[in-house]
Symmetry: C3
Subunit: 156 residues, 3 copies
């Protein structure tokens, strides 16, 4: 990996994780035309969930924020794998969908998913400004507190 | 704004709201090629939620329907902002994703999200007929009863 | 319908169901450029739900898996309708979004949605390998246990 996006990661002291391998009949990403669809990422850091449980119950908003940030880092790791390591080929982050495991009374989903949004803009600059949807769900795979998927526009 | 879509809004006595400003590191819409991705919209009318709470609990289906209609109006307001006010540049509403905050026993999500679907077809005519997914979620931002996002195909 | 995809369906002893008709102001699919967006499909088999209720409560993982498989079959039926019966025009299944109605303690969403992923790869081969998101929701239309939507890349 090289170029300005890598420099920005270094500047922030961040290292892209090894992208998770899909463990079933799906794949971590599919490119179609200029769109790159990346599968939903859990907040896994070296194989462990950064946050498990439900917001509004055992998981605080700050923990959810950190988990969403980890999801975003994992999304970028998958994008790097899709782009032969060249994240500068990302022209725009088009869409983030953020899913927050929460109790019915929870209302601060945006504050949680901001963890993913902030990381994307920190790393990608204006190209990281995206459209977004954030919702609260009953539960997520492995008991994760957050899951985020992404659609990027990429250069050929 | 001008043209047949504006005329249709006038005919129905509807006024597009001032589009909500995103309050974080995301934006209300991103265009990529001929697709316009609009962020999830809550049923806000002049800053107040049309319906808060959960379907099957304190929110009746008719109230959810009205909330979904407001989400759709807000989606069109964002689309108008993206298209310099010219909604006639919408070639097709491609996709609506409808999220309904509900109790586990609720089953009438389609009747709720019809509020958004109906408004789109009233305003856009056949170009408003869309593919759709409707699901019931644990909770939504601000305690909203409904959230809807949209993908449009637009003319250059 | 003809060609290798039909042969594969026959080989597996599967028949595409009659695609469900949308019962409101939305449609079962919309094509935009080379993308085909198919509406969320419930696990209906001849008008009856293959699985109703919540995973982690009354619905076992194997039942959820079978339901997701039925959703995938219904997605292919809609794709066939969109493509004049020629599923060989599918260049790639780009994205599956899988929604699992579940209790908050449920964690095996991937095992459930694998039912849809497996069916797609059985029928479409490598073109069926897709990006995916799987989440657990509070409830689904009609009380269904699973709902899946799809985005395909299609040949002109």
């Amino acid at each position: 990996m090289s170029g300005r996006t890598e420099a920005q990661l270094r500047e922030l002291g961040l290292t892209l994780p090894v992208p998770a391998v899909a463990v079933a009949n799906y794949v971590p990403f599919v490119a179609s035309g200029s769109l790159l669809f990346v599968s939903g990422q859990l907040p896994l850091d070296q194989g462990r969930l950064v946050a498990a449980g439900h917001l509004g119950d055992t998981v605080a908003v700050e923990d959810g924020y950190r988990a969403a940030r980890q999801c975003a880092l994992n999304l970028l790791a998958q994008a790097a794998a899709a782009l032969d390591g060249d994240l500068d080929r990302i022209r725009r982050l088009v869409r983030l969908s953020g899913f927050v495991a929460c109790v019915p009374s929870f209302v601060d989903h945006p504050k949680v998913i901001n963890g993913a949004s902030d990381l994307m803009v920190e790393i990608l600059g204006d190209a990281g400004r995206h459209s977004r949807v954030a919702v609260g769900v009953a539960a997520l795979p492995l008991g994760a507190a957050v899951e985020v998927d992404a659609t990027f526009e990429i250069a050929a």
